[in-house]
Protein backbone atom coordinates (compact mmCIF):
# COMPACT_ATOMS: atom_id res chain seq x y z
CA UNK A 1 0.00 0.00 0.00
CA UNK A 2 1.32 3.43 -0.84
CA UNK A 3 1.01 6.62 1.02
CA UNK A 4 -0.29 9.54 -0.98
CA UNK A 5 1.55 12.81 -1.10
CA UNK A 6 -1.07 14.46 1.08
CA UNK A 7 -0.32 11.91 3.77
CA UNK A 8 3.39 12.56 3.56
CA UNK A 9 2.71 16.17 4.41
CA UNK A 10 1.99 15.17 8.01
CA UNK A 11 5.59 14.10 8.43
CA UNK A 12 6.77 17.62 7.79
CA UNK A 13 4.77 19.02 10.64
CA UNK A 14 5.43 16.22 13.12
CA UNK A 15 5.37 17.83 16.52
CA UNK A 16 7.35 17.40 19.68
CA UNK A 17 5.48 16.81 22.92
CA UNK A 18 6.58 17.63 26.42
CA UNK A 19 5.05 16.99 29.82
CA UNK A 20 6.41 19.25 32.55
CA UNK A 21 5.80 18.39 36.20
CA UNK A 22 2.28 17.11 35.66
CA UNK A 23 0.35 16.49 38.84
CA UNK A 24 -3.17 15.27 39.24
CA UNK A 25 -5.13 13.94 42.17
CA UNK A 26 -8.50 12.23 42.07
CA UNK A 27 -9.77 12.47 45.63
CA UNK A 28 -7.19 10.68 47.73
CA UNK A 29 -5.48 8.84 44.90
CA UNK A 30 -2.60 10.48 43.10
CA UNK A 31 -2.78 9.69 39.41
CA UNK A 32 0.21 11.79 38.39
CA UNK A 33 2.92 12.84 40.79
CA UNK A 34 5.17 15.16 38.85
CA UNK A 35 5.54 13.56 35.43
CA UNK A 36 8.30 14.88 33.17
CA UNK A 37 8.65 13.43 29.72
CA UNK A 38 9.72 14.66 26.31
CA UNK A 39 8.74 13.08 23.01
CA UNK A 40 10.73 13.83 19.84
CA UNK A 41 9.00 14.82 16.60
CA UNK A 42 7.96 11.73 14.65
CA UNK A 43 8.77 9.42 17.52
CA UNK A 44 6.68 6.40 18.53
CA UNK A 45 6.64 6.41 22.30
CA UNK A 46 4.94 3.79 24.43
CA UNK A 47 3.70 4.64 27.93
CA UNK A 48 3.97 1.38 29.81
CA UNK A 49 2.96 0.60 33.35
CA UNK A 50 0.62 -1.35 35.58
CA UNK A 51 -2.98 -0.20 35.82
CA UNK A 52 -3.35 2.90 37.95
CA UNK A 53 0.15 4.18 37.21
CA UNK A 54 -1.20 7.32 35.53
CA UNK A 55 -0.32 6.51 31.93
CA UNK A 56 -3.87 6.95 30.64
CA UNK A 57 -4.29 10.15 32.66
CA UNK A 58 -1.14 11.54 31.03
CA UNK A 59 -2.44 10.68 27.57
CA UNK A 60 -5.85 12.19 28.31
CA UNK A 61 -4.14 15.37 29.45
CA UNK A 62 -2.43 15.61 26.10
CA UNK A 63 -5.81 15.03 24.41
CA UNK A 64 -7.39 17.71 26.59
CA UNK A 65 -9.88 15.46 28.40
CA UNK A 66 -8.16 15.87 31.76
CA UNK A 67 -6.58 18.91 33.29
CA UNK A 68 -3.52 18.84 35.52
CA UNK A 69 -3.62 20.29 39.02
CA UNK A 70 -0.21 21.71 38.22
CA UNK A 71 2.37 21.39 35.48
CA UNK A 72 2.02 21.93 31.76
CA UNK A 73 1.65 20.13 28.47
CA UNK A 74 3.63 21.47 25.53
CA UNK A 75 3.19 20.64 21.88
CA UNK A 76 5.95 22.00 19.67
CA UNK A 77 7.13 24.10 22.57
CA UNK A 78 3.75 25.74 22.87
CA UNK A 79 1.79 25.47 26.12
CA UNK A 80 -1.55 23.81 25.30
CA UNK A 81 -2.61 23.10 28.90
CA UNK A 82 -5.58 25.50 28.62
CA UNK A 83 -6.50 24.73 25.02
CA UNK A 84 -9.88 22.89 24.79
CA UNK A 85 -9.83 19.32 23.48
CA UNK A 86 -11.30 20.08 20.08
CA UNK A 87 -8.55 22.56 19.23
CA UNK A 88 -5.67 20.35 20.34
CA UNK A 89 -5.04 18.89 16.90
CA UNK A 90 -4.60 15.41 18.37
CA UNK A 91 -6.13 12.28 16.85
CA UNK A 92 -7.14 9.67 19.36
CA UNK A 93 -8.01 5.98 19.25
CA UNK A 94 -9.83 4.71 22.32
CA UNK A 95 -9.70 1.46 24.19
CA UNK A 96 -13.42 0.76 23.85
CA UNK A 97 -15.02 0.78 20.43
CA UNK A 98 -15.78 4.42 19.94
CA UNK A 99 -17.16 4.63 16.40
CA UNK A 100 -20.36 6.60 16.04
CA UNK A 101 -23.03 3.88 15.76
CA UNK A 102 -25.30 5.97 13.54
CA UNK A 103 -22.68 6.59 10.85
CA UNK A 104 -21.18 4.16 8.36
CA UNK A 105 -17.41 3.76 8.01
CA UNK A 106 -17.06 6.64 5.57
CA UNK A 107 -19.27 8.84 7.75
CA UNK A 108 -17.16 8.04 10.79
CA UNK A 109 -13.88 8.83 9.09
CA UNK A 110 -15.31 12.00 7.57
CA UNK A 111 -16.80 13.18 10.88
CA UNK A 112 -13.93 15.47 11.76
CA UNK A 113 -13.90 16.99 8.28
CA UNK A 114 -17.62 17.64 8.61
CA UNK A 115 -16.94 19.48 11.86
CA UNK A 116 -14.36 21.57 9.97
CA UNK A 117 -16.93 22.43 7.33
CA UNK A 118 -15.18 20.61 4.48
CA UNK A 119 -17.44 20.08 1.46
CA UNK A 120 -19.19 16.71 1.07
CA UNK A 121 -17.42 15.49 -2.05
CA UNK A 122 -14.04 16.50 -0.72
CA UNK A 123 -14.50 14.75 2.60
CA UNK A 124 -15.84 11.60 0.93
CA UNK A 125 -12.70 11.45 -1.20
CA UNK A 126 -10.50 11.96 1.79
CA UNK A 127 -12.39 9.36 3.85
CA UNK A 128 -12.12 6.78 1.08
CA UNK A 129 -8.42 7.52 0.82
CA UNK A 130 -7.98 6.88 4.55
CA UNK A 131 -10.03 3.70 4.48
CA UNK A 132 -7.71 2.52 1.75
CA UNK A 133 -4.77 3.36 3.98
CA UNK A 134 -6.07 1.06 6.73
CA UNK A 135 -7.02 -1.61 4.20
CA UNK A 136 -10.79 -1.32 4.46
CA UNK A 137 -11.62 0.42 1.21
CA UNK A 138 -14.41 -2.08 0.52
CA UNK A 139 -16.13 -1.59 3.90
CA UNK A 140 -17.03 2.08 3.49
CA UNK A 141 -20.77 1.53 3.53
CA UNK A 142 -20.78 -0.75 6.57
CA UNK A 143 -22.05 0.39 9.95
CA UNK A 144 -20.00 -0.25 13.09
CA UNK A 145 -22.25 -3.12 14.25
CA UNK A 146 -21.56 -4.87 10.94
CA UNK A 147 -17.80 -4.80 11.48
CA UNK A 148 -15.48 -6.92 13.61
CA UNK A 149 -13.58 -5.43 16.53
CA UNK A 150 -10.34 -5.25 14.58
CA UNK A 151 -12.05 -3.54 11.66
CA UNK A 152 -13.69 -1.04 14.02
CA UNK A 153 -10.33 -0.12 15.53
CA UNK A 154 -8.84 0.29 12.04
CA UNK A 155 -11.61 2.69 11.16
CA UNK A 156 -11.11 4.49 14.44
CA UNK A 157 -7.46 4.84 13.43
CA UNK A 158 -8.45 6.22 10.03
CA UNK A 159 -10.82 8.64 11.78
CA UNK A 160 -8.06 9.80 14.10
CA UNK A 161 -5.78 10.46 11.11
CA UNK A 162 -8.41 12.21 9.01
CA UNK A 163 -7.65 15.70 10.24
CA UNK A 164 -3.89 15.23 9.78
CA UNK A 165 -3.27 15.69 13.50
CA UNK A 166 0.07 16.77 14.90
CA UNK A 167 0.08 13.90 17.37
CA UNK A 168 -1.62 10.51 17.37
CA UNK A 169 -2.80 9.17 20.71
CA UNK A 170 -3.52 5.49 21.15
CA UNK A 171 -5.16 4.49 24.43
CA UNK A 172 -4.74 0.71 24.65
CA UNK A 173 -6.35 0.34 21.23
CA UNK A 174 -5.63 -3.38 21.03
CA UNK A 175 -6.69 -4.57 24.45
CA UNK A 176 -10.28 -5.40 23.48
CA UNK A 177 -9.18 -7.55 20.53
CA UNK A 178 -8.32 -11.24 20.40
CA UNK A 179 -4.69 -12.34 20.20
CA UNK A 180 -4.40 -12.92 16.42
CA UNK A 181 -6.04 -9.65 15.45
CA UNK A 182 -3.99 -7.84 18.05
CA UNK A 183 -0.77 -8.98 16.39
CA UNK A 184 -1.72 -7.99 12.86
CA UNK A 185 -3.18 -4.64 13.92
CA UNK A 186 -0.06 -3.96 15.95
CA UNK A 187 2.10 -4.37 12.86
CA UNK A 188 -0.35 -2.25 10.91
CA UNK A 189 -0.11 0.58 13.42
CA UNK A 190 3.67 0.45 13.33
CA UNK A 191 3.73 0.47 9.53
CA UNK A 192 1.34 3.43 9.33
CA UNK A 193 3.26 5.35 11.96
CA UNK A 194 6.51 4.87 10.11
CA UNK A 195 5.00 5.81 6.76
CA UNK A 196 3.30 8.93 8.08
CA UNK A 197 6.09 9.89 10.46
CA UNK A 198 3.55 11.19 12.93
CA UNK A 199 4.46 11.70 16.60
CA UNK A 200 2.64 8.91 18.40
CA UNK A 201 1.94 8.12 22.04
CA UNK A 202 0.77 4.63 22.76
CA UNK A 203 -0.57 3.64 26.16
CA UNK A 204 -0.37 -0.02 27.09
CA UNK A 205 0.04 -2.32 30.05
CA UNK A 206 1.35 -5.07 27.77
CA UNK A 207 5.16 -4.94 27.84
CA UNK A 208 5.52 -7.11 24.76
CA UNK A 209 3.36 -4.66 22.80
CA UNK A 210 5.41 -1.73 24.05
CA UNK A 211 8.80 -3.31 23.39
CA UNK A 212 7.94 -4.54 19.90
CA UNK A 213 6.26 -1.35 18.69
CA UNK A 214 7.88 1.69 20.15
CA UNK A 215 11.02 3.65 19.40
CA UNK A 216 11.22 4.40 23.09
CA UNK A 217 9.31 3.06 26.04
CA UNK A 218 8.45 5.18 29.07
CA UNK A 219 7.83 2.98 32.10
CA UNK A 220 5.58 4.63 34.65
CA UNK A 221 4.94 3.68 38.24
CA UNK A 222 2.77 5.43 40.83
CA UNK A 223 2.34 8.57 38.76
CA UNK A 224 6.03 9.01 38.01
CA UNK A 225 8.36 8.17 35.19
CA UNK A 226 10.67 5.31 36.13
CA UNK A 227 12.70 5.13 32.95
CA UNK A 228 12.36 6.19 29.36
CA UNK A 229 14.63 4.36 26.97
CA UNK A 230 14.80 2.33 23.78
CA UNK A 231 13.35 -1.18 24.21
CA UNK A 232 16.74 -2.95 24.10
CA UNK A 233 18.22 -0.64 26.71
CA UNK A 234 15.15 -0.93 28.92
CA UNK A 235 15.43 -4.68 28.84
CA UNK A 236 19.19 -4.92 29.13
CA UNK A 237 19.91 -2.06 31.52
CA UNK A 238 16.81 -1.34 33.59
CA UNK A 239 17.42 1.78 35.67
CA UNK A 240 15.36 0.71 38.64
CA UNK A 241 14.29 -2.52 40.28
CA UNK A 242 10.71 -1.76 39.32
CA UNK A 243 11.57 -1.51 35.63
CA UNK A 244 13.69 -4.64 35.87
CA UNK A 245 10.82 -6.67 37.21
CA UNK A 246 8.02 -5.10 35.20
CA UNK A 247 9.74 -5.47 31.84
CA UNK A 248 10.42 -9.09 31.05
CA UNK A 249 10.91 -11.76 33.70
CA UNK A 250 13.42 -11.32 36.50
CA UNK A 251 14.49 -13.65 39.26
CA UNK A 252 15.84 -12.30 42.53
CA UNK A 253 18.69 -14.23 44.03
CA UNK A 254 19.99 -13.17 47.46
CA UNK A 255 23.64 -12.13 47.50
CA UNK A 256 26.16 -10.26 49.66
CA UNK A 257 27.89 -7.08 48.58
CA UNK A 258 31.42 -6.79 49.88
CA UNK A 259 34.50 -4.96 48.61
CA UNK A 260 32.80 -3.78 45.41
CA UNK A 261 31.77 -7.27 44.35
CA UNK A 262 28.63 -9.29 44.85
CA UNK A 263 28.83 -12.79 46.12
CA UNK A 264 26.11 -14.86 44.52
CA UNK A 265 25.72 -18.58 43.80
CA UNK A 266 29.27 -19.19 44.89
CA UNK A 267 30.82 -16.57 42.62
CA UNK A 268 31.97 -12.99 43.02
CA UNK A 269 30.72 -10.70 40.27
CA UNK A 270 31.03 -6.94 39.65
CA UNK A 271 27.96 -4.72 39.98
CA UNK A 272 26.29 -3.13 36.96
CA UNK A 273 25.36 0.44 37.82
CA UNK A 274 25.79 2.28 41.13
CA UNK A 275 26.87 0.14 44.08
CA UNK A 276 24.09 -0.79 46.55
CA UNK A 277 23.79 0.93 49.92
CA UNK A 278 23.51 -2.19 52.07
CA UNK A 279 25.46 -5.39 52.20
CA UNK A 280 22.41 -7.65 51.83
CA UNK A 281 21.24 -7.38 48.24
CA UNK A 282 19.16 -9.21 45.66
CA UNK A 283 20.82 -9.99 42.36
CA UNK A 284 18.42 -9.58 39.43
CA UNK A 285 18.81 -12.07 36.59
CA UNK A 286 16.95 -12.71 33.34
CA UNK A 287 15.93 -16.31 32.68
CA UNK A 288 17.97 -16.49 29.47
CA UNK A 289 21.15 -15.61 31.40
CA UNK A 290 20.82 -18.45 33.88
CA UNK A 291 22.55 -21.76 33.18
CA UNK A 292 21.15 -24.98 34.61
CA UNK A 293 22.70 -28.45 34.51
CA UNK A 294 22.05 -31.70 36.30
CA UNK A 295 24.19 -31.94 39.43
CA UNK A 296 23.35 -34.50 42.10
CA UNK A 297 24.00 -33.28 45.62
CA UNK A 298 23.72 -29.55 44.93
CA UNK A 299 20.62 -29.09 47.06
CA UNK A 300 18.75 -27.23 44.31
CA UNK A 301 15.91 -29.01 42.57
CA UNK A 302 13.78 -28.38 39.50
CA UNK A 303 10.37 -27.27 40.79
CA UNK A 304 8.53 -27.01 37.50
CA UNK A 305 9.05 -26.81 33.76
CA UNK A 306 6.94 -24.97 31.20
CA UNK A 307 7.25 -25.68 27.49
CA UNK A 308 7.42 -22.42 25.49
CA UNK A 309 8.29 -23.84 22.07
CA UNK A 310 11.94 -23.51 21.17
CA UNK A 311 12.77 -22.87 24.80
CA UNK A 312 11.57 -24.39 28.03
CA UNK A 313 11.29 -22.32 31.20
CA UNK A 314 12.70 -24.25 34.13
CA UNK A 315 11.88 -23.09 37.64
CA UNK A 316 14.60 -24.13 40.09
CA UNK A 317 14.17 -24.02 43.86
CA UNK A 318 17.53 -23.32 45.48
CA UNK A 319 18.58 -24.90 48.78
CA UNK A 320 17.45 -21.74 50.65
CA UNK A 321 14.01 -21.78 49.03
CA UNK A 322 14.62 -19.01 46.48
CA UNK A 323 13.05 -19.68 43.10
CA UNK A 324 15.07 -18.95 39.98
CA UNK A 325 13.64 -19.07 36.46
CA UNK A 326 15.83 -20.18 33.57
CA UNK A 327 15.10 -20.48 29.85
CA UNK A 328 16.88 -23.46 28.31
CA UNK A 329 16.78 -24.82 24.78
CA UNK A 330 14.03 -27.42 24.85
CA UNK A 331 16.36 -30.31 23.93
CA UNK A 332 18.58 -29.52 26.92
CA UNK A 333 15.65 -29.14 29.28
CA UNK A 334 14.22 -32.51 28.27
CA UNK A 335 16.53 -34.29 30.70
CA UNK A 336 15.55 -32.04 33.61
CA UNK A 337 12.25 -33.33 34.95
CA UNK A 338 10.65 -31.95 38.08
CA UNK A 339 12.62 -33.03 41.15
CA UNK A 340 15.97 -33.38 39.36
CA UNK A 341 18.88 -32.05 41.39
CA UNK A 342 20.60 -29.29 39.44
CA UNK A 343 23.13 -26.53 39.85
CA UNK A 344 22.50 -22.97 38.73
CA UNK A 345 25.16 -20.71 37.23
CA UNK A 346 25.45 -17.11 36.10
CA UNK A 347 27.53 -15.80 33.20
CA UNK A 348 30.72 -13.89 33.84
CA UNK A 349 29.14 -10.46 33.47
CA UNK A 350 28.39 -7.54 35.78
CA UNK A 351 25.03 -8.12 37.48
CA UNK A 352 22.13 -5.83 38.39
CA UNK A 353 21.45 -5.59 42.09
CA UNK A 354 18.63 -4.22 44.19
CA UNK A 355 18.34 -3.71 47.91
CA UNK A 356 16.87 -6.76 49.58
CA UNK A 357 13.08 -6.71 49.47
CA UNK A 358 13.28 -3.45 47.47
Amino acid sequence: MTVTTTEKATAEKAASVEFRGLRRQFGTTTALDGLDLAVQPGEFLALLGPSGCGKTTALRMLAGFEHPDSGEVLVDGEDVTRVPAHRRDAGMVFQSYSLFPHLDAVGNVAFGLRMRGVRTTERRTRATELLELVGLADKGRRFPHQLSGGQQQRIALARALALRPRVLLLDEPLSALDAKVRLTLREEIRRLQQELGITTLFVTHDQEEALSLADRVAVMHAGRLEQCAAPAELYGRPATAFVAEFVGTMSRIPGRFTDGLVEVLGRRLPVDGPPPSAADVDVLVRPEAVGVRADAGSGARVAATAFLGAATRVTVRLADGTEVKADLPTHEAAALGAGTEVSVSLPDRPVLVADRGR
Binding site: H86, R87, P101
Partner: protein, 269 residues
Amino acid sequence: MARLNPWRWAVLGLAALYFLVPLGASVVFSVDVGDRVTFDAYSRILGTDGFGDSLLLALELAAATIALVLLVMVPASVALRLGAPRLRPVVEIVCSLPLVVPPIAFVAGISTVLKWGPEHLARTPFFRTMVAIQNPDFPVVLVLAYAVMALPFVHQALDAGLRAVDVPTLVEAARSCGANRTQALLRAVLPNLRGALLNASFLTLALVLGEYTVAHLLGFRPFAVWIVDISGAQAQMSVAVSVLSLLVTWVMLLALAAAGGRTRTTSRG
Protein backbone atom coordinates in the same frame (compact mmCIF):
# COMPACT_ATOMS: atom_id res chain seq x y z
CA MET B 1 -37.67 -13.69 17.77
CA ALA B 2 -39.08 -16.11 20.31
CA ARG B 3 -41.37 -18.84 19.09
CA LEU B 4 -44.97 -18.70 20.12
CA ASN B 5 -45.77 -21.81 22.10
CA PRO B 6 -49.34 -22.64 23.20
CA TRP B 7 -48.97 -20.80 26.49
CA ARG B 8 -47.96 -17.63 24.78
CA TRP B 9 -50.87 -17.95 22.39
CA ALA B 10 -53.19 -18.34 25.35
CA VAL B 11 -51.88 -15.24 27.09
CA LEU B 12 -51.95 -13.28 23.86
CA GLY B 13 -55.53 -14.41 23.23
CA LEU B 14 -56.67 -13.41 26.70
CA ALA B 15 -55.03 -10.00 26.39
CA ALA B 16 -56.61 -9.51 22.99
CA LEU B 17 -60.04 -10.41 24.38
CA TYR B 18 -59.58 -8.04 27.28
CA PHE B 19 -58.76 -5.12 25.03
CA LEU B 20 -60.73 -5.87 21.91
CA VAL B 21 -64.11 -6.96 23.30
CA PRO B 22 -64.99 -3.62 24.94
CA LEU B 23 -63.60 -1.77 21.96
CA GLY B 24 -65.57 -3.93 19.56
CA ALA B 25 -68.72 -3.51 21.64
CA SER B 26 -68.27 0.25 21.60
CA VAL B 27 -67.84 0.29 17.84
CA VAL B 28 -70.89 -1.92 17.33
CA PHE B 29 -72.96 0.23 19.65
CA SER B 30 -71.92 3.42 17.91
CA VAL B 31 -72.87 2.22 14.41
CA ASP B 32 -75.95 0.12 15.23
CA VAL B 33 -79.38 1.70 15.08
CA GLY B 34 -82.09 -0.92 15.40
CA ASP B 35 -81.18 -3.33 12.63
CA ARG B 36 -79.10 -1.29 10.24
CA VAL B 37 -75.55 0.04 10.25
CA THR B 38 -75.12 3.77 10.16
CA PHE B 39 -72.19 6.10 10.65
CA ASP B 40 -74.51 8.90 11.60
CA ALA B 41 -73.00 9.32 15.04
CA TYR B 42 -69.57 9.84 13.53
CA SER B 43 -70.63 12.30 10.91
CA ARG B 44 -72.46 14.30 13.56
CA ILE B 45 -69.23 14.60 15.57
CA LEU B 46 -67.48 16.34 12.74
CA GLY B 47 -70.30 18.83 12.56
CA THR B 48 -70.43 19.42 16.27
CA ASP B 49 -69.21 22.78 17.44
CA GLY B 50 -65.68 22.82 18.84
CA PHE B 51 -64.40 19.54 17.42
CA GLY B 52 -61.75 21.04 15.18
CA ASP B 53 -60.70 23.72 17.65
CA SER B 54 -60.29 21.40 20.59
CA LEU B 55 -58.44 18.77 18.59
CA LEU B 56 -56.11 21.38 17.16
CA LEU B 57 -55.52 22.84 20.62
CA ALA B 58 -54.68 19.39 22.00
CA LEU B 59 -52.21 18.78 19.18
CA GLU B 60 -50.59 22.17 19.63
CA LEU B 61 -50.28 21.58 23.34
CA ALA B 62 -48.76 18.17 22.68
CA ALA B 63 -46.21 19.58 20.23
CA ALA B 64 -45.23 22.38 22.58
CA THR B 65 -44.97 20.01 25.54
CA ILE B 66 -42.79 17.58 23.62
CA ALA B 67 -40.52 20.39 22.49
CA LEU B 68 -40.25 21.89 25.96
CA VAL B 69 -39.70 18.67 27.86
CA LEU B 70 -37.08 17.38 25.40
CA LEU B 71 -35.26 20.71 25.32
CA VAL B 72 -34.98 20.61 29.07
CA MET B 73 -34.41 16.93 29.64
CA VAL B 74 -32.00 15.95 26.86
CA PRO B 75 -29.18 18.35 27.75
CA ALA B 76 -29.86 17.71 31.44
CA SER B 77 -29.69 13.93 31.09
CA VAL B 78 -26.54 14.03 28.99
CA ALA B 79 -24.87 16.48 31.36
CA LEU B 80 -25.87 14.29 34.28
CA ARG B 81 -24.44 11.24 32.58
CA LEU B 82 -21.15 12.98 31.78
CA GLY B 83 -20.67 15.17 34.79
CA ALA B 84 -22.33 13.66 37.82
CA PRO B 85 -23.42 10.06 37.27
CA ARG B 86 -23.78 9.64 41.03
CA LEU B 87 -26.65 12.12 41.13
CA ARG B 88 -28.76 9.81 39.01
CA PRO B 89 -30.85 8.39 41.89
CA VAL B 90 -31.64 11.92 43.07
CA VAL B 91 -32.81 12.99 39.63
CA GLU B 92 -34.76 9.78 39.29
CA ILE B 93 -36.67 10.49 42.50
CA VAL B 94 -37.34 14.09 41.52
CA CYS B 95 -38.55 13.01 38.11
CA SER B 96 -40.95 10.44 39.52
CA LEU B 97 -42.59 12.92 41.90
CA PRO B 98 -45.36 13.74 39.39
CA LEU B 99 -46.42 10.08 39.60
CA VAL B 100 -46.77 10.36 43.36
CA VAL B 101 -48.53 13.71 43.55
CA PRO B 102 -52.15 13.26 42.42
CA PRO B 103 -53.21 15.53 39.53
CA ILE B 104 -55.89 17.05 41.75
CA ALA B 105 -53.32 18.26 44.24
CA PHE B 106 -51.15 19.45 41.39
CA VAL B 107 -54.00 21.52 39.93
CA ALA B 108 -54.84 22.94 43.32
CA GLY B 109 -51.25 24.14 43.57
CA ILE B 110 -51.29 25.64 40.09
CA SER B 111 -54.59 27.43 40.76
CA THR B 112 -53.17 28.94 43.93
CA VAL B 113 -50.16 30.23 42.07
CA LEU B 114 -52.33 31.60 39.26
CA LYS B 115 -54.40 33.47 41.83
CA TRP B 116 -51.31 35.38 42.92
CA GLY B 117 -51.69 37.19 39.63
CA PRO B 118 -54.66 39.35 40.56
CA GLU B 119 -53.95 39.25 44.31
CA HIS B 120 -50.29 40.24 44.58
CA LEU B 121 -48.92 41.03 41.17
CA ALA B 122 -51.59 43.32 39.80
CA ARG B 123 -49.27 46.32 39.88
CA THR B 124 -46.21 44.59 38.49
CA PRO B 125 -45.28 43.62 34.92
CA PHE B 126 -45.65 40.00 35.99
CA PHE B 127 -49.40 40.43 35.89
CA ARG B 128 -49.27 40.58 32.12
CA THR B 129 -47.27 37.36 32.14
CA MET B 130 -49.83 35.66 34.35
CA VAL B 131 -52.58 36.69 31.97
CA ALA B 132 -50.63 35.68 28.90
CA ILE B 133 -49.93 32.14 30.07
CA GLN B 134 -53.67 31.64 30.59
CA ASN B 135 -54.66 32.74 27.13
CA PRO B 136 -57.47 30.30 26.22
CA ASP B 137 -56.27 30.17 22.58
CA PHE B 138 -53.00 28.71 23.71
CA PRO B 139 -52.72 28.16 27.46
CA VAL B 140 -48.97 28.10 28.16
CA VAL B 141 -49.75 27.12 31.73
CA LEU B 142 -51.03 23.77 30.46
CA VAL B 143 -47.80 23.20 28.58
CA LEU B 144 -45.87 23.85 31.76
CA ALA B 145 -48.12 21.51 33.74
CA TYR B 146 -47.94 18.76 31.11
CA ALA B 147 -44.17 19.06 30.90
CA VAL B 148 -44.00 18.33 34.61
CA MET B 149 -46.44 15.46 34.30
CA ALA B 150 -44.45 13.95 31.42
CA LEU B 151 -41.17 14.07 33.36
CA PRO B 152 -41.28 10.51 34.74
CA PHE B 153 -41.92 8.99 31.32
CA VAL B 154 -39.44 11.17 29.47
CA HIS B 155 -36.78 10.58 32.06
CA GLN B 156 -37.25 6.81 31.89
CA ALA B 157 -37.14 6.77 28.10
CA LEU B 158 -34.03 8.96 27.90
CA ASP B 159 -32.27 7.14 30.69
CA ALA B 160 -32.76 3.80 28.97
CA GLY B 161 -31.50 5.28 25.70
CA LEU B 162 -28.45 6.83 27.32
CA ARG B 163 -27.56 3.63 29.09
CA ALA B 164 -27.47 1.82 25.74
CA VAL B 165 -24.68 4.04 24.36
CA ASP B 166 -21.28 4.88 25.78
CA VAL B 167 -21.91 8.62 25.97
CA PRO B 168 -18.59 9.71 27.53
CA THR B 169 -16.55 7.89 24.87
CA LEU B 170 -18.73 9.18 22.03
CA VAL B 171 -18.35 12.73 23.28
CA GLU B 172 -14.60 12.37 23.67
CA ALA B 173 -14.29 10.78 20.24
CA ALA B 174 -16.23 13.67 18.74
CA ARG B 175 -14.15 16.20 20.65
CA SER B 176 -10.91 14.65 19.43
CA CYS B 177 -12.36 14.97 15.91
CA GLY B 178 -12.58 18.71 16.40
CA ALA B 179 -16.20 19.01 17.54
CA ASN B 180 -17.01 21.48 20.29
CA ARG B 181 -19.38 20.48 23.09
CA THR B 182 -22.56 21.50 21.29
CA GLN B 183 -21.53 19.78 18.07
CA ALA B 184 -20.58 16.66 20.01
CA LEU B 185 -24.05 16.59 21.58
CA LEU B 186 -25.92 17.30 18.36
CA ARG B 187 -23.86 15.24 15.92
CA ALA B 188 -22.54 12.34 17.97
CA VAL B 189 -24.91 11.74 20.87
CA LEU B 190 -28.38 12.82 19.74
CA PRO B 191 -28.52 10.71 16.55
CA ASN B 192 -27.88 7.65 18.69
CA LEU B 193 -30.72 8.58 21.02
CA ARG B 194 -33.29 8.66 18.23
CA GLY B 195 -35.17 5.66 19.61
CA ALA B 196 -35.24 7.16 23.08
CA LEU B 197 -36.40 10.56 21.80
CA LEU B 198 -39.14 8.89 19.82
CA ASN B 199 -40.29 6.91 22.86
CA ALA B 200 -40.31 10.02 25.01
CA SER B 201 -42.35 11.86 22.35
CA PHE B 202 -44.84 8.98 22.10
CA LEU B 203 -45.48 8.90 25.79
CA THR B 204 -45.81 12.66 26.03
CA LEU B 205 -48.19 12.79 23.07
CA ALA B 206 -50.40 10.07 24.52
CA LEU B 207 -50.39 11.79 27.89
CA VAL B 208 -51.34 15.20 26.53
CA LEU B 209 -54.07 13.93 24.19
CA GLY B 210 -55.73 12.01 26.99
CA GLU B 211 -55.27 14.46 29.87
CA TYR B 212 -58.53 15.66 31.38
CA THR B 213 -58.18 16.62 35.05
CA VAL B 214 -55.76 19.52 34.84
CA ALA B 215 -57.21 21.04 31.68
CA HIS B 216 -60.77 20.79 32.94
CA LEU B 217 -60.09 22.20 36.40
CA LEU B 218 -58.12 25.12 34.99
CA GLY B 219 -61.02 25.81 32.64
CA PHE B 220 -59.48 25.05 29.26
CA ARG B 221 -61.02 22.92 26.56
CA PRO B 222 -58.65 20.65 24.68
CA PHE B 223 -59.88 17.49 22.99
CA ALA B 224 -60.32 15.29 26.08
CA VAL B 225 -62.37 17.95 27.86
CA TRP B 226 -64.44 18.56 24.76
CA ILE B 227 -65.28 14.85 24.52
CA VAL B 228 -66.57 14.76 28.08
CA ASP B 229 -68.49 18.02 27.59
CA ILE B 230 -70.44 16.86 24.59
CA SER B 231 -70.88 13.23 25.56
CA GLY B 232 -73.50 14.08 28.17
CA ALA B 233 -75.91 15.02 25.41
CA GLN B 234 -76.27 11.75 23.57
CA ALA B 235 -75.27 8.21 24.47
CA GLN B 236 -74.45 6.95 20.99
CA MET B 237 -72.42 9.98 20.04
CA SER B 238 -70.43 9.90 23.27
CA VAL B 239 -69.29 6.36 22.51
CA ALA B 240 -68.52 7.31 18.92
CA VAL B 241 -66.39 10.17 20.22
CA SER B 242 -64.46 7.84 22.51
CA VAL B 243 -63.75 5.48 19.64
CA LEU B 244 -62.73 8.41 17.52
CA SER B 245 -60.37 9.79 20.16
CA LEU B 246 -58.73 6.40 20.34
CA LEU B 247 -58.27 6.43 16.60
CA VAL B 248 -56.91 9.97 16.64
CA THR B 249 -54.30 9.01 19.24
CA TRP B 250 -53.32 5.95 17.24
CA VAL B 251 -53.02 7.93 14.04
CA MET B 252 -50.87 10.51 15.80
CA LEU B 253 -48.58 7.85 17.25
CA LEU B 254 -48.26 6.20 13.84
CA ALA B 255 -47.51 9.55 12.25
CA LEU B 256 -44.81 10.23 14.82
CA ALA B 257 -43.34 6.78 14.27
CA ALA B 258 -43.33 7.33 10.51
CA ALA B 259 -41.73 10.75 10.88
CA GLY B 260 -38.90 9.49 13.03
CA GLY B 261 -38.82 6.00 11.74
CA ARG B 262 -36.53 5.78 8.78
CA THR B 263 -35.24 2.92 10.90
CA ARG B 264 -31.98 2.21 9.17
CA THR B 265 -29.84 2.20 12.24
CA THR B 266 -32.21 2.11 15.18
CA SER B 267 -32.33 -1.68 15.03
CA ARG B 268 -29.15 -2.19 16.98
CA GLY B 269 -26.52 0.09 18.48
